[in-house]
């Protein structure tokens, strides 16, 4: 049984036919982070001229990938800059010369002509990562030497407000289908399903027109239900299989639609991810919309570019959706590869916690069948372990549904971290 609920949707306000393009930041601040690694060998120094897409730093750590410049111009300095997790991170400052000079790559490549090893190497060199928020390097998934039988393209985008995946799907439909077809050929994948929410009927209709010649690719709409985009749920729903932990147990790979477009650019043009579509939405913005923006651009600049805030009062800035995302401390934070949306809200729910009334709603809605209220109230360490808080995916449904407004998600995640550390 699929658990979850319809949450406040509010996607329509940011949907436009094509994303607006913002490629005019005076400076970009490229954070030296790849997945969880922050140890880098910096390959440039102040006053060096860099090309757009040039590698400017490398790390030898596991799961790491190179860091690329998102503009052409002069390297200025290395300075601390707010990262998506509100930490101050070393970032390479590059002054944009607006010439968009790129390294010559020769002809366009036929994207189905690569071997598996070549694909993995290109994805690594181009720094392709999970663009739905996890920042996990994509090359690792394709290089696991496990047979991939089925592929799910996740365009569900469960979170409220976010429409960046929807925009990618609408704007680059033929490129996405071409990439899926190539991946299926290279990895000998038997079947592919593109999963779209019931809500996105337009995307389904548009895709159906294109999909005709791709016989192994189908499109399925899934219920408009929060956590439907979780890969475990999505796989179980689409293929009627039981997943214990990861879909790869059943040789099923789930890939985010924006990541697929990143793969397309990498395979076709050897272009790393130096820009991405980000949803700017929320009631505090004058013109909510999707913007194609360079990695390392301060959020504040993009917001000013699309019309700014409605009032002078500083709004709450939530990154990657109001359910699983978190508040940013400042709009000086820069755009990263794993930033799919910035939601500016004048008001957020700040209800005070009340005593639990034992309604059981949190235990009945948890997609992983955890009992959040029992986890946070339990004193016995052995019992806590038996309640498996480490299985919490942090979806936030428990906190969303709780009538006592208890911060269940935060508390369970806190206990989860302690259990994992032990």
């Amino acid at each position: 049984m699929i658990r979850g609920t319809k949450v406040f949707n509010n996607k329509n306000i940011s949907i436009t036919s094509m994303p607006l393009k913002y490629n005019k930041p005076d400076y970009v601040y490229i954070p030296l982070v790849s997945y969880k690694n922050k140890n880098f060998d910096i390959l440039v120094k102040p006053d060096d001229y860099v090309l757009k897409g040039q590698v400017i730093a490398r790390s030898k750590d596991k799961f790491s990938f190179p860091i690329h410049s998102s503009v052409s111009g002069l390297v200025k300095e290395i300075q601390k800059r707010k990262y998506i997790d509100n930490e101050d991170i070393d970032s390479i400052v590059i002054e944009n010369d607006f010439l968009e000079k790129e390294k010559k790559i020769g002809n366009k490549h036929k994207i189905n002509s690569y071997s598996i090893e070549e694909v993995v190497e290109i994805l690594k060199e181009c720094g392709i990562v999970g663009m739905s928020g996890n920042n996990f390097p994509t090359y690792y998934k394709y290089g696991m030497e496990l047979k991939i039988k089925k592929l799910i393209i996740n365009a569900v985008e469960s979170e409220s407000f976010l429409t960046s995946d929807f925009t990618v799907l609408n704007s680059y439909t033929s490129e996405i289908l071409e990439t899926i077809d190539a991946l299926m050929e290279i990895f000998k994948i038997e079947e592919c399903v593109i999963a779209v929410k019931d809500f996105n009927k337009k995307a389904v209709d548009d895709l159906v027109q294109y999909i005709g010649s791709y016989t192994k690719i189908s499109i399925k709409s899934v219920p408009d239900n929060y956590t439907m985009g979780w890969e475990k749920y999505l796989t179980e729903y689409l293929f009627k299989v039981k997943i214990k932990k990861y879909p790869m147990e059943k040789s099923i790979l789930v890939e985010n639609i924006s990541t697929i477009f990143g793969i397309y650019e990498a395979l076709k043009y050897r272009k790393p991810i130096v820009e991405r579509i980000v949803t700017f939405s929320g009631d505090a913005l004058k013109k909510p919309q999707n913007v194609l923006v360079k990695i390392g651009t301060p959020i504040k600049e993009v917001i000013n570019f699309i019309g700014g805030y409605i009032t002078d009062k500083k709004p709450y800035l939530i990154v990657n959706g109001p359910m699983m995302g978190h508040c940013l401390e400042t709009d000086d934070t820069v755009i990263t590869k794993n930033m799919c949306g910035v939601i500016a809200l004048n008001k957020i729910d700040t209800s005070e916690e009340m005593d639990c009334i034992n309604c059981g709603k949190c235990t009945n809605i948890c997609p992983n069948r955890l009992a959040p209220i029992l986890i946070i109230n339990e004193k016995n360490v052995n019992n806590i372990k038996k309640l498996h808080p480490e299985k919490c995916i942090g979806c936030g449904l428990c906190s969303y549904i709780c009538p006592s407004k208890i911060h269940l998600r935060e508390k369970v995640l806190d206990i989860r971290d302690k259990v994992i550390q032990k």
Partner: protein
């Protein structure tokens, strides 16, 4: 510090408690109609006893910072009302006050023990010991079914009841009552138990499966035991529900 999620469901504790109170109104009107207008005094007495005891305990527990706010005492109002609905109409006044005070007092210390079960146990035990006859209500089954559907429907629509517990308890118990003998007074008690006493929030398990097991046990004991013994079992089950809940949660998460 702001904690996510930043959007929340509109449901809250106050709404749930008010919804329960609103759903009780048809039953209050029907009970007053079945007894007589003076029985409204009994209703006031149970409510006042329950609210007063709760205020005293709250003031005692938070002697430094206590501030009266009537909103905090809607739950005792509900407790008082349910006691009024569930007890026999010929219960002596002193016993109503005493049982309500004891029930509410114990509940002030042990939230997981249903105060209505304690108060009802005292009253039904009194009738058993003194050999006094309980005056049965002259129930019109159609009216009873009608108000039950309205109240349950209202609670379900407003997500203010553990409906699985209500359904399992009422349907199973009803089946046994229909097989044995059709006693409309027992059906009335069964409905009050199934809608308000057995699924009471604080005394029931959190997990749906534990709730169903609890409702199953409650309906079996209701079917085979006389009322006072059933009420004792109910209180014991309230105490054991935490362990039932934990073990069901262990099982569910392990097998997911």
């Amino acid at each position: 510090m702001n904690y996510g999620p930043y959007i929340k469901s509109e449901n809250n504790n106050d709404k749930i408690i008010y919804n329960i109170l609103i759903s009780l109104i048809p039953f209050i009107i029907y009970k007053i109609y079945l007894t007589n207008l003076t029985s409204i005094i009994y209703l006031f007495i149970t409510i006042i006893s329950s609210v007063l005891i709760s205020i005293i305990f709250d003031a005692f527990k938070n002697s430094q910072s206590y501030k009266f706010n009537f909103k905090n005492y809607i739950y005792p109002v509900i407790i008082g009302t349910i006691i009024y609905l569930f007890i026999p109409s010929n219960t002596p006044l002193f016993l109503i006050i005493l049982s309500t005070i004891i029930g509410t007092s114990i509940n002030s210390f042990f939230k997981n023990v249903n105060p209505v079960l304690i108060a009802s146990l005292i009253i039904y035990a009194y009738f058993l010991i003194t050999n006094n006859n309980i005056i049965k209500l002259d129930i019109n089954i159609f009216i009873l079914i009608g108000i039950s559907i309205i109240s349950l429907g209202y609670l379900i629509l407003n997500r203010s009841v553990k409906f699985r517990i209500s359904f399992v308890f009422i349907l199973l118990s009803l089946l046994s009552l229909l097989i044995a003998e059709i006693d409309y007074n027992n059906i009335y008690l069964l409905i009050i138990l199934g809608l308000y006493i057995i699924p009471e929030l604080y005394s029931t398990p959190n997990t749906a499966m534990a709730g169903i097991l609890y409702a199953l046990m409650a309906s079996i004991t209701f079917m085979i035991l006389p009322m006072p013994i059933f009420l004792i079992f109910g209180i014991i089950m309230n105490i054991l529900n935490r362990y039932l809940d934990l073990n069901v949660a262990f099982y569910l998460v392990k097998n997911n």
